[in-house]
Every structure is written in C-alpha cells, then in structure tokens.
C-alpha cells in the first residue's frame, strides 16, 4: 500500500505541482492550504509524511512542526519543509522543532521524491 503524503502550501499551484510529482512516483496525496488545515488533516489520521511550506497564513510551517511534534503520536512523522527560505537560522529552528528535512524552492522533483521515499521506507 502506497504511503500517503500531506502537502501543505497556501499556493494551489504549488500543491498541484508537488502532488503531481508524488503521484507519478506512486504516492497517495492529500492537501491542506495552511497550518491549521494541515494540523487537522494529520490529526484525522492516515498521513505518513508531510511536505510543508514555511510562510503561510493562519499558522506557518514551523509552528505546525512545533505543534505536531508536541504530540507523542506524531513523534516519528517525517516532515519536510519546502520553502523559498534559506536562512540558516530558520533551517536550525525547523531542525530543532523536529523537521526531517529542508528543500528550497523551486524544487527538483527527483530530489523531493527520493527524500519522501527515504523517509517513508
């Protein structure tokens, strides 16, 4: 059974692009438009990996990581940040919060797929 990846980004086009790359690689994909929706979707169950933007309205990506990782149920959930941000301070904050990786947009589909495959294997 293929792993289910949650794509969280406020841009519908980015969600579409990431989703297409992952579906082509055999993953199931669900979407959320911000951190609030993302948290609700994870809490609903069935998500094996999260690919998440950083700058989003309502709840940003790092806040989402911090909140999810407070819950022991999500301690092992892989979360990859997919963002335009590259500043080392932000990368370190995400790492400290429990994120699994960091990809700077625009993303290369093969790298993204390889990362998700590695983290869900």
């Amino acid at each position: 059974m293929s792993a289910t990846v949650l794509v969280v980004d406020d841009s519908a086009t980015v969600r579409q692009q990431v989703g297409s790359a992952l579906k082509l690689a055999g993953f199931s994909v669900v979407e959320a438009a911000d951190g609030v929706e993302g948290k609700a979707r994870v809490s609903a169950g069935g998500v094996n990996c999260v690919v998440c933007d950083v700058n989003m309205p309502n709840k940003n990506g790092i806040e989402l990581v911090e909140e999810l990782k407070k819950d022991p149920a999500h301690k092992a959930l892989p979360i990859i940040m997919l963002t335009t941000e590259g500043a080392p301070q932000l990368v370190q904050r995400a790492k400290a919060a429990g994120a699994s990786g960091w990809i700077v947009k625009p993303f290369k589909a093969d790298l993204l797929v390889a990362a998700v495959r590695k983290l869900t294997s």
């Binding site: 841009s11 086009t13 579409q16 990809i103 700077v104």
Partner: protein
C-alpha cells in the same frame, strides 16, 4: 556597497533566476520609465528593522502560464507564487549583508488593465523578456540614508533547489 544598489542588483538577479528556472532561458532585463497595464498583478512586501520594500510583478495570463510547469495552473495564484520565489531569493541574497527580511503573503489582482503606483518609496520599473513573453516588475524600497552593506561570504544560505535531510 550602497544598500539600494545591492538590493536592486540582487532583486534583478532573483527575478532573472526564477524566470530562467522555469523557461531555461535567462531573460533580458531592462529598466523602464513605467509599466504598461497588464491583466494580472502580484504584490509581495518585505521588511526588516532597517529596510522595507515591495515587489510587484505584472503580466498577462499567457505569460504567467508560460512560466508554469503545469499547464492548468491558476494564473493569479501562480504569479503570486512566482513573486514569492523572487522575493524569497532576494531575502536569501540579503542574508549575508545582515538583512533578515520578513515576507508578506502574496496579494494578487486581476482585471482589464492593472497598474501599480508607489506613494512613498524609491521605486524603479523593469521588464524581463524571454522568447515566450515579458514580465514587468516594480521594486519599491525604503532604505535609511547612507546604509552600506558588507556581505559576509562566510554566511551559508541554503541554495535554491537544494535538499538537506537532517
């Protein structure tokens, strides 16, 4: 280096890099007096303790879709994301200069003839052209007089397209 010169050069590099990523062609960027109205416009603001600014991109839907890797993208949404990526690259280029910008979420407008004006900042209009079309840009900056940046080459910023697994 003068901060306004540094940021303007970084912005034009960022704009060119984003267009080149999605088209494979480095666009020709030219300064303009003003920009003709277009059907779509996107605004992304950025600010840190010293410097504030806005990036405005305008283009027709066809040009925006020419920059999309998926043919059925929503042109307004995609123009907003392109602007987000341009300003994101600007932010990353400014980090070694000691500026850590916060970005606003993209705001997009669409209409018959969308034109943007700047009220209270130094601004400049540009066009970025490649064989598939032209995107117009407006960069507005508020920079303290006499601000100079000395980029620290030792500052490591994650590169666009890079993957870092922790």
């Amino acid at each position: 280096m003068d901060a306004t010169e540094f940021l303007t050069a970084a912005y034009l590099d960022a704009l060119s890099e984003v267009i080149e990523h999605y088209t494979g062609v480095r666009p020709v960027t030219t300064a303009c007096e003003s920009n003709d109205p277009s059907g779509l416009g996107s605004v992304v603001g950025f600010a840190d303790e010293q410097v504030k600014g806005s990036s405005v991109l305008t283009a027709g839907a066809a040009e925006v879709l020419a920059l999309s890797p998926t043919p059925d993208a929503d042109p307004g949404d995609w123009l907003g994301e392109l602007n987000n990526q341009v300003v994101g690259r600007l932010k990353n280029k400014a980090v070694p200069g000691g500026l850590l910008f916060q970005l606003s979420p993209p705001v997009t407008a669409d209409g018959a003839a969308v034109r943007f004006r700047v009220a209270d900042a130094v601004s400049a209009h540009y066009s970025a052209s490649w064989p598939g079309g032209t995107v117009r840009a407006l960069l507005a900056l508020t920079v303290p007089a006499g601000l100079f940046l000395n980029p620290d080459d030792a500052t490591v910023v994650a590169e666009e397209g890079s993957l870092n697994l922790f």
